[in-house]
């Protein structure tokens, strides 16, 4: 079970040029809107026809510009799930689900439709029309409609983005069960990085029509290879760096020298550290510890983000800051009583290095 994609498509103001391989393990495609995620899925489904390249699914060539192969959308037998469900408004839930298997004999068709409605817990809605369903029920129907055809791969295009948080979490869990029992290739497009991490084993990061990194999810999240990937995976603290000596680099944007663990960092141009890895400490003599001033504090329900300016570098206004620190509410309550100067530590072990 695998999917090989290597396609190019030129538009006037956009260029899709993507190459990757996916296997049975769910692959998440992460990227900002307009990065070409959806277009990639649509190319695999055959709705968009690439200019050049090839697409091979489970050893079956769906598209090959050199050999002149281009299977029609209908022949490709892939399962594509849309963000807005795309149910047929004039058909009931049962008719919607049966749409893709209408050529099967009646008994078998009925059996499979009932089975899928059971699996998605929508039996009681069988004679309802899409407008009578909630968002979650619509997406379950759309999922059942796709799964019932037993497609060669599952392509999910931001399937939860139109749902509210509670339903979203619920459906996400159910989807993980479905993925576990489905033995084909699954591609999951999203711009929500936490959702992407939870759902996928492997992650492909896209930017401006290109794959900028690809690998197992921890690899991509913990050691992003380039600045764009770091930003898309939610890293807030990134700085250009210059080499000082074997154990020291200069963080250009932050205006400080940092000790680094002995490792090969030749060829890297930037360094980064995630905001929850930066810590507030009492002792100014610890390695990589700097006095700092607070520019701004933003509270969320369960955590606090402190925007800090390394001391002696001016600033102190809302927008002028060097580093973001994420900490718990409790830790912040203690920190708030500390006398100035506060100290911030950038632990060498948590630093990672990237290229532009």
């Amino acid at each position: 079970m695998d999917l090989v994609v290597d396609i190019k498509k030129d538009y006037k103001d956009f260029k899709l040029e993507i190459k990757f391989q996916a296997n049975q393990e769910t692959m998440g495609i992460l990227g900002a809107s307009g990065s070409g995620k959806s277009m990639t899925l649509r190319s695999i489904a055959g709705i968009v026809i690439p200019d050049r390249g090839r697409i091979v699914l489970n050893g079956r060539t769906l598209f090959d510009s050199e050999k002149g192969i281009n299977l029609s959308v209908q022949e490709r037998r892939v399962g594509l799930l849309f963000q807005n469900y795309a149910l047929f408004p004039n058909l009931t839930v049962r008719e919607n689900i049966a749409f893709g298997i209408r050529k099967l004999p009646g008994v078998e068709r009925l059996r499979r439709v009932e089975e899928k409605m059971g699996a998605m817990q929508i039996n009681h809605l069988h004679d309802k029309y899409p407008y009578q369903l909630s968002g979650g029920e619509q997406q379950r129907t759309a999922l059942a409609r796709t799964l019932v055809t037993e497609p060669g791969c599952l392509l999910l295009d931001e399937p939860f983005s139109a749902l509210d948080n509670h339903i979203r979490g619920q459906l996400e869990k159910e989807l993980l069960d479905i993925f576990a029992s489905y033995d084909g290739v699954t591609l999951f497009v999203t711009h929500n990085l936490e959702e992407c991490y939870r759902v996928s084993k492997n992650i492909l990061v896209m930017d401006k029509g290109k794959a900028i990194s690809c690998g197992c999810r921890d690899e991509v999240f913990l050691t992003p290879p380039n600045v764009k990937t770091a930003m898309l995976t939610g890293c807030k603290n990134i700085s250009a760096m210059g080499r000082v000596n074997k154990h020291t680099v200069k963080a250009v944007e932050w205006g400080c020298n940092l000790e680094v663990d002995e490792q090969n960092i030749d060829g890297y141009t930037h360094l980064g550290i995630r905001e929850h890895h930066v810590t507030m400490v009492d002792d100014g003599d610890l390695p990589n510890t700097f006095p700092c001033r607070v520019s701004r504090v933003v509270e969320t329900p369960f955590s606090v983000t402190i925007f800090l300016k390394i001391d002696g570098r001016g600033g102190g206004t809302d927008r002028d800051y060097d580093i973001q620190v994420e900490t718990s509410k409790e830790a912040y309550a203690l920190q708030r009583d500390q006398i100035y100067p506060w100290y911030v530590q950038i632990k060498p072990a948590h630093l990672f290095f990237m290229t532009e």
Partner: protein, 227 residues
Amino acid sequence: MTLDLSPLWISLKTASTATVITIILGIALARWMVFGGGKGKEVIDTLVIMPMVLPPTVVGFALLLIFGKSGAIGQLLATVGASVVFSWPATVITATVVAIPLMYRTARGAFEQIEVNSIDAARVLGASDWYIFWRIIIPVSLPGIIAGIILSFARALGEFGATIMLAGNIPGKTQTIPLAIFLAVESGETQTAFIWAGIVLLISLSAILAMNYWSKIQYKFDQRVRS
């Protein structure tokens, strides 16, 4: 006074025939415009819409030029010994030409409302374009199509200017109700004119009522119609 009922039958026959042709051509055109490929869409679109904005007499004059003895189609028909000018088919031709823009525009509007994703979803699920057309596109846009049919029928029934140019006003042959009303008023038979006007009103009203009623019971899936 005995009323010659032939204008009624001619009108009904003409309007019905023209409406059937209009439905087929109008929907086929709209389908091609919205879902089809190919070039020259703007040109065809303009040509089809023209009769809606031109005075009917100009349409009639243009048709006379095309179907007349020296016109392109007129000459073609002459080779098989046929002629449409001043014959019953001429009433159908003019009624169709003036009604098509209405059918075409409303059907096109309805098709454009359909979510492209649901059509793509149907294709991904293996449905052919024809199947999608009959199973999804037509049912979903039926309210719009019905509106188009009502408008087209009413327009075909009321057609006057182009008809008198191409088909003339021959009693028992090409004289439709609007032409009969014109003749009655012109010759001072006000009462006859009233009767015909009343008949037209009845036909139009019942057509609208029947179709509205039917679309309501048909559209159980559409929230807008129901509420």
